[in-house]
Structure formats: C-alpha cells, structure tokens
C-alpha cells in the first residue's frame, strides 16, 4: 500500500504528521488507501471491544485462511481496474474452473495437470475477454459480463449438483491447516499453503506493478490510454495481458477455494465480482484507472472478511444484509473517490 511505496523518499524529512500531509498533498489518491487501513484497524479495535476474541491468533489466521481466494481475486481486479477496465467474470470463472477441476481430479488426473487445467480455463476466459475488448472494441463490462454468463452456463452444463473432491486427493493438501505456533487451547497460529500462495501472488503482483515495465504500462494506460499509446508503450498487448492475468488469478482462486472446501458447485462464486471489486475500491484503486495499490486491495479484502466475521459474531444482523452492506461500503468508497478526483480536476 501507500506507506511501502512512498516512504523511501519521504523518510528523511519531518515528523510523521508532516510526512502524511506531504504524501496526501503530493498524491490525493492515497487517501482512500489510508482510509481503508484506518477502517481495518478501527474494525479490529471495535470488534475486540464489542465482541472480544478478535485480536488473537486463531481469529486472525482464520481471517487469512477464509479469505485467501478473495485476496487473489482482489489482486486480479486491481490489475484490470488500474487500466480503467473491469472484470465481471471472475466469480463465474471460479465456478466453471472448480467444477471442471474436481471432475478431472475425480476422473483420475494428476494433481498438477488438474491445477494447470483449472488455471488454464481462467486464462482462456481472460484471452477471450481481452481479445474482444482490445481487437473488437467491445466495452470491458459487456465483454466480461458475457463471459460471466458463459462461465455460469458452462459450469451448469458440466454439473448442476455439488461435486465432491475425493478425500485422498492431494489438492486438499493446499487447504490443509499447518500449525505454526501452538497457543493455549484453540488459540493457534495456523496457516494453510493456500495463504502462502495468496501471499506469493500479492508479492509478485506488487513487484510486477511497481518494478517492471509492464506495471508501468498498466498505470500509464489507466492514466491516459492515448498518451500511453503516443509514448510508444505496448498498450494493446498489455490490455489483453491484464485480462489474461485476471482470468489466471481467478483460476488460481478456484484452486485455493476448492482445496479448502472440498466441493465445487455451479453456483459457487455468485456475487464474488462485487466482493473483489469492492476490495479493490476500498483499498484505494480508482475505478477510472491509473491510481491504486495492490497492497491496498489486500487490506480491502481483509476489511470485507473482517466485516463478515463481525456480522456473524454480532448475530443480530441477518446474513441477508451482507450483500447490502458490501454494496453500501462500495458505494461510499466510490463516492469518496469521486469527491477526491473532482477536487483534483
């Protein structure tokens, strides 16, 4: 997020409030990212005070374990949204990829072949949307909306009943819980390979976006596509590539989610597009593109995950309210972005 990318040049000067002010005046788009961190910390404190047992190993490690797939999706959406596009198909890609993966695995395929196939399905969807958007000038949300329905339909063609992953399937190992610190009672610091994969994805995405030419091109496209084109950046290639990355990460998210749950269904992942978009937007990625941080999106995903934990802890809020609250938070942040960008204009 912001602190990591900005602090090196800001460190030598001034006190912390001075530095913060400088950072905000230099780049107002970090405001939403800072807001998301504040909200996350605020939610943790509120949860600890109101319900207790939030700030301890097992709650926090469960937060990571249960949201590993969402973190990966948020990273995927960050890439696409940074270019000013959108990918509504990630939830459906997860459905078709996980159903296909479980069926292949049960048909006796090798684990690696299954995982590659699951990610490959996502890549295929990404290529189709990318080509539609880049070569045929279809609006991103129309192209990916079509892919969203195509994925859902294909998943239903494959199977309309829950497909169960074999108990001895090695894929389950990805979701297996490994104890790192054995705390008192059930308060253990637990981690799954899936969490490690998600962390690796985040690190890789951070490296690609901030330290490579491709990342620079992604930001440049979001800032102004025609300027990027005039500068001679490989706009067309990159535009297709972000959708391929997004599709591949959605496929990877399907692997992580299936490994944790052990079942796959054609209705898996309905509405996860909203969660992923909301995570990216809460984390400070501007929907018009050009501004945003992949680490902010991770915070956004954790905010959403923590919100679910708090809602279940509270018990008074009906679970139906979750989508409304997610939508409301998304709306508030979009409006906040709107206010920030309007002031810049």
């Amino acid at each position: 997020m912001s602190a990591v990318s900005v602090s090196p040049e800001a460190r030598p000067v001034g006190t912390i409030p001075d530095r913060a002010r400088r950072m905000i005046t230099a780049n107002p788009s970090v405001l939403p990212t800072i807001a998301s961190i504040v909200i996350f910390v605020g939610m943790v404190i509120f949860g600890e005070v109101a319900y207790g047992r939030i700030l301890q190993f097992n709650t926090l490690s469960n937060l990571l374990i249960n949201n590993a797939h969402l973190i990966v999706l948020a990273v995927a959406l960050t890439f696409v949204i940074l270019t000013g596009g959108i990918d509504l198909s990630v939830g459906s890609i997860i459905a078709v990829s996980s159903v296909a993966g479980v069926m292949l695995s049960n048909a006796g395929w090798n684990v690696f072949a299954v995982i590659i196939a699951m990610i490959g399905i996502g890549v295929l969807f990404g290529i189709v949307s990318g080509v539609l958007i880049r070569y045929f000038n279809v609006q991103p949300f129309i192209a990916t909306l079509a892919m969203m329905f195509l994925g859902r339909g294909l998943a239903s063609l494959l199977s309309t009943t829950p497909e169960r992953l074999g108990e001895d399937s090695p894929i389950r190992w990805i979701g297996a819980q490994l104890k790192i610190i054995d705390g008192p009672k059930v308060n253990d610091l637990v981690i799954t390979p899936a969490v490690l994969v998600a962390v690796l994805v985040v690190i890789a995405a951070f490296f690609v976006l901030h330290r490579t030419r491709m990342g620079r091109t992604v930001y440049a496209i979001g800032g102004s596509e025609s300027s990027a084109l005039l500068m001679g950046l490989p706009v067309h290639r990159t535009k297709v590539l972000v959708y391929v990355i997004s599709g591949a990460l959605a496929g990877l998210a399907a692997v992580l989610y299936t490994a944790r749950l052990g079942t796959a269904q054609n209705i898996t992942g309905i509405g996860w597009e909203l969660d992923a978009i909301a995570a990216a937007v809460i984390g400070g990625t501007l929907l018009t593109g050009g501004y945003g941080y992949v680490l902010g999106s991770v915070v956004g995903a954790l905010v959403l995950g923590l919100m679910n934990v708090l809602i279940t802890r509270d018990g008074g809020i009906p679970p139906e309210m979750t989508t409304i609250i997610t939508g409301g938070i998304l709306l508030v942040f979009v409006l906040l972005q709107r206010a920030v960008t309007r002031r810049r204009e």
Binding site: Y135, Q139, F141, I142, A143, S156, E273, P319, R338
Partner: protein, 355 residues
Amino acid sequence: MTAAAGTTIWRELIRKPFFWGIVAIIALLALNVIKDPTYLALSINPNNGNLVGNLVDILRQAAPVMMIAIGMSLVIATGGIDLSVGSLMAVAGAVSMEFLSAAGDSFGAALAAVGLALVITGVLGAVNGVLVAYVGLQPFIATLVLMLAGRGIAKVITGGQNTTASNDSFRWIANGFLIGIPVVFLLAVLIVIAVGLVVRRSALGLMIEAIGINPRASRMAGIKPKGLLLTAYIMSGILAGIAGVMSVGSVMTVDISRTGYQLELDAILAVVIGGASLAGGKFSLSGAFVGALLIATLDKTVLYLGVSSSATPAFKAIVIVVLCLLQSERVRGWFRRRRRPRPAERLLQKEEVSA
C-alpha cells in the same frame, strides 16, 4: 414492375433493425417443428375459450423480458447500462408478495400491491439515476451495486423466505386471458406501444439519443442531460417492477434467488438483437420487442431440446458475443472490404488524395 416493387419492399424489410431477429425466431421455430411436427399447433380450451399451445407460452414468457428490454433500450440509448433490472424484479416480487400475504384477497389489495412495488422500484431506479446523472458515476458501477445489493434488499423484505400469497386479481395479470389471448402479453404490448408513443411522438426519444451520441454537444444544443438521464433510469426501474409483478404473478411465489436472476443479460441481449448499439445513441423499441420474443423462443427451444435450463446463459452469452463482434468496426471493415468493388475503391482513394 411488381417484381421491382417486391424487391424494394424486401430491401426495406431487410434494413429494419428487427429483420434478423424475426429470421432467427422462424429458424428456431422450424427447429422445434422438425423435432415435433405438432409444435406450432394452437388449440382452444373448450372450457373457457382460451388459446393453448407452445406459441402462447412463448408470448407469455416474453412479456417480462419485453418490459425490462424496453427500459434497457432507453438507458442504453443514453450511453449507459442498467445492470440492476433483474434484482429490481426480485424486489418488486418480494414487495408485492409480502403485501398480498398480509392484505389478503381483494381487488384493491392487488392494485395496492402493484402500485407499491412500482413505487419502490421507481425509487431504486431513481437512486441509479441520481448516482449516474448527478454524482457522475459510471453507469455500470452505479447499477452493479444495486444488482448485487438488490437481491439482498429482496431477502430482507421477505426475511429470507420465499413468500407465497394468494390473490386472484393479482394472479389474473400473469395467468388470465382476455378474448383468448394472455393478459400478460396484451399488457406488455400496450405498455410497449404507450412508451413508444411517448418517446417517438415527442422529442424525448431524440433527446435521449442525443445524450448517447455526445453528451456535451447535446448540452450545448440546449438539452438538459441530467433530468433526462434520471428519467431514463426511473423508467427502467418502473418497467423492471412491472416485469417483476408479471413473473411472480404466474406462480404467486417470489423466489428471491431465482426471480429475475440473470435477466439483465436477457434485456441487454434483446436490445442488441433489436439493432441498438451498446455504445448508445440509438434505440428501437420494435427491435427490443422482437428481441424479447426471440429470447423467449430461445429459452423454450433450449429447454425443449433437453438442455438444462441453468445452461441457457451460455448460449445467450455466445449470441451476445457474436452480435458484439458484428457491431464492431473491425468485423464490419472485413465485410466492407469484401463487398466494395475494387475500381471504385481506387477512385475514392484518388479523390481523397487530390482533395
């Protein structure tokens, strides 16, 4: 001479935006007839004189899609999109069912239920409109929020249940017959005609199209885009409400996770089939009407051919991708290059050079 007149009529017909939609409907019906020669047969129910048959079923199924397609036409013509129509249908269904299950079985209750549902969906449509027109959000983000939160709202209204109610007058809207024809289809046709008259006999349609072509130019020409945008989204919301009433009325149960599910794709598809451009700037209500009929036929055919109904979105997605491809400049360029005779092209280039 008659032959020449015949060809001009044909040419005009082919130019109509909905021509290929009608061709597709006929092709699908032909496919059904091949499978079952008696598919098109219409019979009259001897007890009440109503028409019975597959065609009547298609007309009935098409009615809700027509409603949301008309609303979507207007919104798309402004250069926007309304992704929330399916969820608004669920909200309308939830509101009317909850109201009816409390208010009981009377004509007044049915009227009040419909009114209440339309007011609430109209308000939700207005929320979309305000976010798009006054706040300046991208239309798909503004409506995406309601697309996903709308179903949550419907769940909250019914308390997570699939509410059932009984009211004969309300049921009549969806299941009744008037002079042998389903009421729901007659109602849809009337609404389409009414909207068409309002939009096409006044400058409203032209102004909506002007916004879609170029918002800045339309503002300079003296059109106030904000109010019109708001109107388009409110219209879309209300029409989605009508569609919701129609679709819950036939079973008198609102299924909060299935009512109107994925129907936003149907609406977009109907609009695109009708010849409108997703980039905005033009719309054709008759095209959307034919598009809705085609979708209902497609739904029924896919079901008839023995494919699971939850797989139909895949077919629709393929159709929409193909239509988007046909609309794109690149594909049109391919066809143009092939069609245009060589010498004329050279002449044109020469003229361009000399100019």
